[in-house]
Symmetry: C2
Subunit: 577 residues, 2 copies
Amino acid sequence: MPQLRMALAQVNPTVGDLDGNTDLHVEWARKAADAGAHVVVFPEMSLTGYPVEDLSLRETFAEASRARVQRLAGLLADAGCGDLLAYVGYLDRDEAGPRDAAAALYRGEVVARQFKHHLPNYGVFDEHRWYKPGRTLDVLRLHGLDIGMVICEDIWQEGGPVAALGDAGVDVVVAPNASPYERAKDDVRLPLVARRAAEANAPIVYTNLIGGQDDLVFDGDSIVVGTDGELLARAPQFVEHLLLADLDLPSGEHAPEGEYEGLRVRRRVLSDEPAPAFEPPAEPAISEPLPDEAEVWSALVVGLRDYVRKNGFRSVTFGFSGGIDSAVTAALAVDALGADAVYGVSMPSEYSTEHSRSDAAELARRLGCHFRVEPVADMVRVYVDQLKLAGTGLAEENIQARVRGMLLMALSNLEGHLVLATGNKTELAVGYSTIYGDAVGGFAPIKDVFKTHVWALARWRNAEAEKRGETPPIPENSITKPPSAELRPDQLDTDTLPDYALLDDILDDYVEGDRGFADLLAAGFDPAVVDQVVRMVDRAEFKRRQYPPGTKITFKAFGRDRRLPLTNAWRETHEGA
Amino acid sequence: MPQLRMALAQVNPTVGDLDGNTDLHVEWARKAADAGAHVVVFPEMSLTGYPVEDLSLRETFAEASRARVQRLAGLLADAGCGDLLAYVGYLDRDEAGPRDAAAALYRGEVVARQFKHHLPNYGVFDEHRWYKPGRTLDVLRLHGLDIGMVICEDIWQEGGPVAALGDAGVDVVVAPNASPYERAKDDVRLPLVARRAAEANAPIVYTNLIGGQDDLVFDGDSIVVGTDGELLARAPQFVEHLLLADLDLPSGEHAPEGEYEGLRVRRRVLSDEPAPAFEPPAEPAISEPLPDEAEVWSALVVGLRDYVRKNGFRSVTFGFSGGIDSAVTAALAVDALGADAVYGVSMPSEYSTEHSRSDAAELARRLGCHFRVEPVADMVRVYVDQLKLAGTGLAEENIQARVRGMLLMALSNLEGHLVLATGNKTELAVGYSTIYGDAVGGFAPIKDVFKTHVWALARWRNAEAEKRGETPPIPENSITKPPSAELRPDQLDTDTLPDYALLDDILDDYVEGDRGFADLLAAGFDPAVVDQVVRMVDRAEFKRRQYPPGTKITFKAFGRDRRLPLTNAWRETHEGA
């Protein structure tokens, strides 16, 4: 049976960095050629990075991207990869507008350019804004085998481009992807791709991006699925990787060029001689997906690392309060950047407890990161005296949080660190934070992690350390003590908020599920608590708008996933309309 | 010839406020009935407010909106407006998903529900995210005359729903709209509507919203255009208004129900008896559009007023620096809210000049608003001493700006004012502002006004005052002195930035026009200056993300109009790709 060796180049490009991304393609195509591959498949928009957002509308950028694809064809040939058929994602543009495109490069030439057909316009995606849909499918014959291609969302459509390729007839389908990570999304991808393989009547070679881009992180998890739906190969998550798969392909008699499912299928022969016989790789390369907590931790580490690195920072600074949020943020930052890149700052006020100060110091000791103490009492006092804030409650509490924010920004100005905000999703949901205070920062690593999940991650990370015989990074006390903002004497979060387990349950239904009051009552929640939570969430929209970005790990993250008006008089109530 | 009296209810609803908006509809329908109108046309989504953004996806809200339309039909009949045919915009939802809808209410019943066909998904619009498109058109016969309807974007399409109505045959077309204000947009609307009137072979009754909603402001400018393109009536801009137009309609023989231009046209007869004869209104009601500066000023006043009012604030506070930006913001705030709602704060540092202090005081005196002086020296000193910031440049400069931001937030916490940020578009474009410093605020009234335009508005506002024999609100000195942030001795904006006239010219091409380097050189700009400006703009994206919203007045405002990645290595350069 004719064979092809397919290589999936699961790489981490940087948005807009055409030079760096070009080098990345040459490097990984070279690896694929060295491994004896006949075809290498890069992810969606691999040459430009993804998503480029409104850069898609910039004509100069589209022109540069088009020119790069052409140039890359020559560079690959010069690098001795000319006989490798390389699928490369890029931004195209024609008279109709910008296109989410992939090109096939072979022997120094661009032998096909195809555009994405289905443009997602929900969740974090605005692709009807950014692109025009394609209407053609290019099938290339290499070594006597017919290769079709679809891009990302195309593979989520039943009866779409994959079905058209199935009708026309192909021996294998390659699918460049940029599918952002969400918890448990990998459970969805494999059955989906298996259904499409059946529709195509051919194996599917699905390459996904890895790496962080602003609030998105891509987990890779590239797969090869046989015609019968069997998983043939799977790449590890969150790392660059070259996945190889040798496919035995029974080349069939295929239909001619023409219209299938409303799309134009074109065919081009690159070579008809069968590939020389080759030894299959010794190991079947099927990586196991990560368990849930490890997967989330990796997502947060990579999201943070790439935001810092791709934006030219070398170090981060943030408040070490002794609490669980800053402790988990610190452990993530050390895993992402190394202890020497992390600058913890303890900023005790007169309401800070002794245990908070010692827990913060203990955290720094365990992590081996930089640590300094900057008391805020003197600064707070000037404001309190000048504005007569003593005993005013919120105004006085906020001053402490804001003095801390200013201190961190001053250290950033002095030493060049990126400031991290340590808020979690629960806090952000109900507005339990001080705008321009603890909300200060360029990035917020645990912004999309609910409070109960923050605790679970802390326990998991400590347990992992113990398994490896290392010191658990997070002081036990930071995990077990009752959470407090410590902005007034004996303050506890539960003075203001419902118990976190209950609160996160309600938020999961209201924020993630977009459910109404009646539904929340039907789920068994107390009406008074639901009312309190819903009001807090609705009123905090203005704080979320000015909050820094952070890595999305849930179905619906705050930010472009959830676009609500600031001015909004609608309140979910018992009465309904 | 049969006649109809049409009423255009150019109203200002609040997003999500179904109770308030219901009352508004009853009140204005009553006015229309009292004026003898046969038909009243409310704007797009008048019952829910516009845009509701992701509230469109909330099932409870859609259900409440549907129920309200039904209830409103009864309320209008109860209020004695039953014989008035009322077109009301609302959010619908069916098995396909949410719909941007308008209903026709008559004698206590909902006699038609129609969905928007063309969904804009560019600029500030994400309507492919929010709605599913309609496929039907409802034509209602009232007093023997056939009335068709199209919603907003539908009227921007050649060969679309209007053409379908033209093919099927109607006597008049009503068009509920929510078309956000942009400078000079009214120049586009009239010729557009005239072209559609020709396509429909019928007059068009175009009602637009007024009022502010977050970063958008709607100017009204509702119009009635005859079959021949003649302007028959025009409402004033930026105020609620009932515009009446008596139309003489030659009722033609029309085609039957069926498919036209791919859309299903349905017909329903409400009444076949001609309307009783009536006197036309004595005055032809054609308001003149405002001259440019007056129009922009009104847009900024209404945008600010409605953000404050619709979010439940009664007063605003912000820094009075003595400079032009805070002076114009103050004059706008007084025009929007009255002098008693404006709390100016002068916050001199050791680098503040004497003239700045006196100009700030003079501004407050002219406006008659509240004014206090809070020196920042003592607060700044504690930071400078504790962190050893003396002579560090940026770190020390930023501390002053941030102390001011904290002071304003503390006053907001104490006294309940909304804090305004006074930055202009030029500053925001090049990042010439301190995040968490002068960028602090809930709303930024002149965020979309270029610096040279700020001066022009100041001169215009002063001249208007002089014409009316009032004191010009803005001290001449604030207009004429060279701009300075006064964060170090003898600092001038031109130390860091090109001359504002040149800078605004480049920004107009780069930000508004999305033009590349070669284009900017072709426009005659110096390559070194272009390079400096482009880099400043690209690097300031993170500051813009955390900036408060402000009223859009240009084609492309910062915010949802311009969505660029934070992590973005693409730079426009001389070399191109």
